[in-house]
Symmetry: D2
Subunit: 203 residues, 4 copies
């Protein structure tokens, strides 16, 4: 059976939960389509998140890698088209701020995902699960792990599909916040299960 | 057993479905807490929506009235605080446009809901269902049926609780729309069931 | 010459400036159309804002009253249609929080503005100054001063036009805030001058 | 005197004006800091916009290139960090739709701007002109001309600074649109003049 490495993040900034951590925990060990899911949580840490993802990759030796991240404010499931060679933004969980720095010195400016993002988006929309391709994963930890993994696979000439999917906030996060779009945790979980089924069918 | 009249609307503007119609259909006949639910659909029609609601009221003779409406763009369940004596806005389903007109000549400018909206909002939030009090039901059909019903009950000195709750768009409506916050239809339905349970407990 | 009482507010919440205070200071003493402008600043204080506005009213004895308030997040100039008999929301500048309280015990639920808001909105839009009627002034200090003034005039049977206009944030406020729509201070000032000209022409 | 090639676009989609066209017309011929401005309008046409920009480049032989585009919905001046090798999105003005296509076959996935975008953003914010770096120029014509120019300069080993700046809608465009953030045309024009002054100082 094929293995799918699915990563989520711990909570960050002023959020006390992260729906991607909960999804990854829930799906860990499940069989979805042709895939055995191996779920892993990543820290929100500019210095270690990338290397921890690589370590998980070498331990699991998956056939495909999907990293999940929270995009508070977005209304739909958004597979990312590209990761960019830039670290910038707010404090990570260790208090480190990066400003306009490279992730990989002399790395390419951008790296396209190798996941079938158009099929994922079309497939979800057919199931009435709102989804759109996103053209920016930002410059924070989500973009960093996406870039690090794609770059590592590229320099090792590996054609293994890898990429990143942002999800909306969960209802639990939206309580007492103004104008924060949110989905129920079960809708978010269900959407990711369907992403994996769609990829399974397209294999 | 007490009767609860629950109304929804048919689709309007360029929408082809209305999640409130689906909720009302699904809950019609259910028993929730102390209430037997009687679900009815209203047209989107400045000339008849109010009188059709009054007709349903006299046929059902309910102990409580909750009207539901779609507020595309909102992110949470929003019980309305007040209805105002004004018709204004876009075309209704018969092509009629109203501009700054009174609903009831010489009626009061505003009428507060008689539903326990603070208890509803607090109760939903405790269940991790995002909810907020809204201070405007607009000036379209939603506000009209809320105003007509409250005004009718007031001039008849009836203390029967009545009011209006706006809900977000459903996922089905958000497909191929940009930046439209949405919930799954089952989340929306579940939220309204819980609204009714909360009211039942507070009786 | 006719007198126009124009009020703005001091800064509140975590804002360090309030563009309405700056507008009122700038326009104080100006002659615009048939009006001599008398500009006054109000505190953000549930207990005193209303009575201070009434005091100014009796000192100035204006022919018309326009109160201005900041609506951070709005994109256009928004004359308010109605004030409602409710105090609710975040802490005022003295640390007081109100929850679902009446402004005037036994006062009407809502009171329509007596300013010519449709003419204002149409007139501004013709000048390419984006404007819309708003159906909610909220339940914070803006709504309070609007309600207190309209109620006072009503119980004294005075037909003097009175109302409230919300404006977007200024550019200065939007620096380092995410997704806060803003106009330049000079655009905001210019818009209010034009509001007054439009009212002057319609007199 | 140095030459600065400043491009804007003709109107597109359902907009009847494009504030970037107006800015480019207004600034054409002006001297700002060390630069003589040469303003040019580009079509919204997947097949010709890139080659027309290259033609203008060879005719003008500028020392720096800034392309402007409208980003309806944004609230601030946003210099773009990166252009990506992708054409996707809505119909151009000739009715052509592209879906997930490369701009340059075998071109790099992404290309960073060579404009001093951090200095521009910091400089504008110091003047109370809201500005932020954007991490996505989209996949429509704006991204296309940015990518084509950066790619052309890169394969010719030219260090000439080049990039793209998105601006909010103008007030004129926001009339009768809901929730569209806008600035006055004079604010937009003023912002671009200041961008050029900031670049001039940093030379």
């Amino acid at each position: 059976m094929k293995k799918l490495l699915l990563t989520g993040f711990e909570p960050f900034l002023d959020f006390t939960i992260n729906p991607t951590e909960q999804i990854v925990k829930a799906l860990d060990g499940e069989k979805i389509g042709p895939f055995q899911i191996v779920g892993k949580k990543l820290p929100v840490d500019f210095s270690s998140s990338g290397s921890i993802l690589l370590k998980e990759y070498y331990e699991v030796m998956p056939d495909i890698i999907i990293s999940l991240g929270l995009a508070a404010g977005r209304t739909t499931i958004t597979p990312e088209r590209i990761a960019i060679n830039c670290k910038d933004g707010e404090k990570d969980n260790r208090g480190i701020i990066k400003k306009d720095e490279k992730i990989v010195e002399n790395g390419p400016d951008g790296l396209f995902t190798t996941l079938p993002i158009r099929e994922i988006v079309d497939g979800l929309n057919e199931m009435n699960i709102p989804a759109e391709i996103s053209n920016s994963a930002g410059t924070y930890l989500c973009n960093l792990v996406m870039y690090e993994m794609l770059h590592h696979l590229k320099i090792h000439n590996t054609s293994l599909p890898s990429g990143f999917i942002h999800i909306p906030a969960s209802h639990e996060m939206a309580i007492h916040k103004r104008n924060m779009p949110s989905w129920s945790q079960s809708d978010l979980e269900n959407a990711i299960r369907n992403v994996i089924k769609i990829i399974g069918k397209n294999e």
